[in-house]
């Protein structure tokens, strides 16, 4: 490299390191957030189902109470 190898390889080395860190952190961050979002979205319908079940149970018991009172 004509005695300038240190300057040339340092330039390419710095670029490689900076871009690799940028690519890796970007991919890791995207994967972590999309996993977290998928987990939360998977939980949300379960909570809704549980709420619905609780609501159904409450309605059923409300209906059952007057019937019990009549007996």
């Amino acid at each position: 490299m004509g005695g300038h190898g240190g300057f040339i390889w340092s330039s390419w080395g710095i670029a490689l390191v900076v871009l690799t860190v940028l690519v890796v952190t970007s991919i890791k961050s995207m994967r972590a957030r999309e996993r977290e979002l998928a987990r939360m979205e998977a939980e949300a319908p379960r909570r809704r189902r549980r709420r619905d079940t609780q609501a159904d149970t409450a309605t059923a018991s409300e209906k059952a109470t007057p019937a019990e009172g009549n007996q």
Binding site: I8, S10, R33, E34, L37
Partner: protein, 247 residues
């Protein structure tokens, strides 16, 4: 056309379709650029082998300016039409632009020492690129400085638009002032002052970096959109729990 992609779902559909192609092109173009930069291009008759720094320095400098122009346009679209995806794209592009600017500054310094005999001079070109780097850092800091994300977006978008005045200063600094940095060699009205054997790796690296920029903006925008959805779900959950306990 622009309004169609203000919808995050539609934007993500397009982005996910583009991502594998852009990734493939990035690998192909940068791979070919590296081959030509080190294997199939000659040493310069004056600069010798140090000319190989040009193939990383010049495309990084172009990307540093392109990324800022992208952020300024996205910020303007976000401010004028209130497109949420435009702000997301601007935020996604800022760290990428900052990294390219950092590469441009460090490789320029490493090229300057053997060719000019100095690591740094406060000439107009070098100083305006350093200002660009600080504008990137300011944009990122301002966007994250508020609890209310919308206020951060607005403040950083205004900074991006004001800072855009630095782009023509960078471009024309070598013509307006006496600088140690050389004037333009590629984007000239007449023919480029670079031989084809050196122009090929330069352009391959430049287009490869543009593809890399596209890939990274998509990845970071996906992360940002997922983050916003997570925050919305958390807020909805807290709201629902507060309402439930209140009842």
């Amino acid at each position: 056309m622009l309004h169609r992609f203000a919808n995050p779902t539609r934007f993500l559909r397009l982005a996910n379709a583009v991502l594998p192609w852009a990734t493939g092109l990035t690998i192909l173009l940068i791979g070919a650029g590296l081959y030509f930069a080190f294997g199939a291009s000659p040493a310069d008759y004056q600069q010798g082998e140090t000319v190989r720094i040009m193939y990383i320095h010049v495309p990084s400098a172009w990307m540093a300016m392109f990324a800022y122009a992208f952020i300024a346009v996205a910020s303007a679209v976000g401010l004028i039409w209130k497109h949420p995806v435009a702000h997301v794209c601007a935020l996604a592009a800022a760290p990428i632009g900052a990294c390219f600017t950092l590469i441009c500054l460090t490789t320029g310094s490493l090229w300057g020492k053997p060719m000019w005999g100095t690591w740094w001079v406060w000439d107009a070109r070098l100083t305006s690129v350093l200002v660009l780097f600080f504008l990137y850092l300011g944009f990122i800091a301002l966007a994250n400085a508020f609890d209310d994300a919308a206020r951060g977006e607005k403040a950083s978008a205004i900074l991006a638009l004001i800072g855009a005045v630095n782009l023509p200063i960078i471009k024309f600094s070598v013509d307006w002032w006496n600088t140690l940095h050389q004037p333009a060699s590629i984007s000239r009205i007449d023919m480029p002052a670079v031989h084809t054997s050196m122009l090929i790796p330069l352009l391959l690296m430049a287009v490869g970096f543009t593809m890399l920029f596209t890939v990274l903006v998509i990845i970071r925008a996906r992360a940002e959109l997922a983050d916003r959805r997570i925050n919305a779900l958390r807020s909805a959950r807290i709201h629902a729990e507060t309402a439930h306990s209140g009842a």
